[in-house]
Symmetry: C2
Subunit: 356 residues, 2 copies
Amino acid sequence: MKPRSITVDLGQRSYPIVIGNGLLGGDFDLAGYVRGSDCLVVTNETVAPLFLQGVIELLGTKAVDSIELPDGEEFKTVETVGRILDRLVDRGANRDTTLIALGGGVVGDITGFAAACYMRGVDFIQAPTTLLAQVDSSVGGKTGVNHPKGKNLIGAFHQPKIVMIDTDTLKRLPDRELKAGLAEVIKHGAIVDAEFFGWLEDNIEALITRDPEALAYAIQRSCEIKAAVVAEDEREAGRRAILNFGHTFGHAIERCQGYGEWLHGEAVAAGMVMAAKLSNIDLAEFERLCRLIGRAGLPIAAPSIAVADMLAAMGMDKKVHGKQLHFVLLESLGKTFVTTEYDDALLERILGAADR
Amino acid sequence: MKPRSITVDLGQRSYPIVIGNGLLGGDFDLAGYVRGSDCLVVTNETVAPLFLQGVIELLGTKAVDSIELPDGEEFKTVETVGRILDRLVDRGANRDTTLIALGGGVVGDITGFAAACYMRGVDFIQAPTTLLAQVDSSVGGKTGVNHPKGKNLIGAFHQPKIVMIDTDTLKRLPDRELKAGLAEVIKHGAIVDAEFFGWLEDNIEALITRDPEALAYAIQRSCEIKAAVVAEDEREAGRRAILNFGHTFGHAIERCQGYGEWLHGEAVAAGMVMAAKLSNIDLAEFERLCRLIGRAGLPIAAPSIAVADMLAAMGMDKKVHGKQLHFVLLESLGKTFVTTEYDDALLERILGAADR
């Protein structure tokens, strides 16, 4: 397959998303996106043995250093960012240095935030190696780390210079992570593209069995959808919020369960079903959504959590000043809106269904 | 005096600089620049007893919390930013929260960076209370903290919503800090405005004796100059570098001496003289610069430091990858250029003069 390229249109901050198989270790001109002569590849101990050498080969004559983080969301902290910054300082890295994030969403988020903060911002490149990162977190410039009291509370909007997606990396991805990535793919269809949603219904088995053409198309279409939404509203002042469909519930599930119990994509899957229930869409469309999520091997219901705990995790307790909860709801498959008006009683019933 | 207003023209990120006497505790509508209902004033233990109440009064019906940092550059660290972020999390602060920096450059830099990082960026307001912060650091959106191995290595460009300068705060400023602030005022004249430089020569005694009209004009003109340069080049890709006139030498002096020995403005004063020597300007103009700096009570020569130490502190040692030193030099008073071409032998002689 020839690599496909999508542009994230953000004026001076525009950048390409290149999707292809065998990019790592091939002849793709990644070095052409490195402004200076100096690079730091940030990866983790799981990904490094598989793909680090391939990235280094693409960087040719550049001076390349690398740092291997431990693997896991629990390391997505300010302290880990500090380790990367220390390394940059020790190298005498200057404003022309480029950071390269090689790994999943955690590596991308951490690396992007380190790039945003070093000398008030240096270039970075996303080379995502999980489906979730390829269809979601590597695109759009959201970077950051967790605070002990909440996810992604510390961060920056910082756009990469390029997102380089080698679909061959998915051959090494565990099944459960592949499925978790599909949750965000399904989300992209559900929120803005009924036709793509239909394509997913026709091709979900091909995706699960890792048909390369099917995966490449699903990634391409997801990136196109996300790129278009981000181009309209880079800093989430409005429309970008639709990308959070299923996430208000999903984040609450993750928080109540303790992170790491369910994968993010699994929580979002159950969250989408809950959001669809709150949406009052056609029963037939609701059932199509549930069926597709189920066929992808993802949960269509939350685990058992008390209603009060879910409400608190959604930030609906009294401590929060002036906070008004925004829900992303479906009008129909492919049509979404953001609202602060919803049926309180229905919300409690939906949460109660999880309170078994 | 009626408040004066200057606009920093940065498209959607444009903001006013308002300069007046008695703004704090007066009837200025600062609350009008606070988007939500929630504010956190960040100040330090020196400034709080003098001006915190005045800011709180201006915020009227908003929910106002405050945090008092210890006073000093040594607290301009990631750890201090962490304290502010923890407070925001504990308050359940959301994206509509506004941070207000009340103090000098250290408070402004720390607060701005905390605002840049919290939830990927919340609003902040600069209320500078030192001359240095009023004429320089509060304008232009540079925020950040120090790394143990270098100043301002960790930070962000994050523009405030307004810079509110109450010139009455200068009545409480120690003499030495007032003079240090004048170094940056003189710099603004020297780099782009020969007429303002002449005005400073005529009015330097009025400034030192804190004539309110003279101070207000010097602040206004400095802010106008800085605002124009920043509007042209927000992220220092080019022209903005001229604001660093005297700073390559000045930073090296601060680093070699240990921070806190000389004030930043004092180091910049001596640094401007060194940069002017390297510039090969008219002797008469060179002498005018030295004389004005001297009349402002500022040093015109660096303390005794070995040439090798100064060179290393300027990043001219071999460890640094691909680094090319840029100097901001004078063509004449009011005309500046940035260059990587300079007379090496002359540079060593200039540094040698400090190596007594």
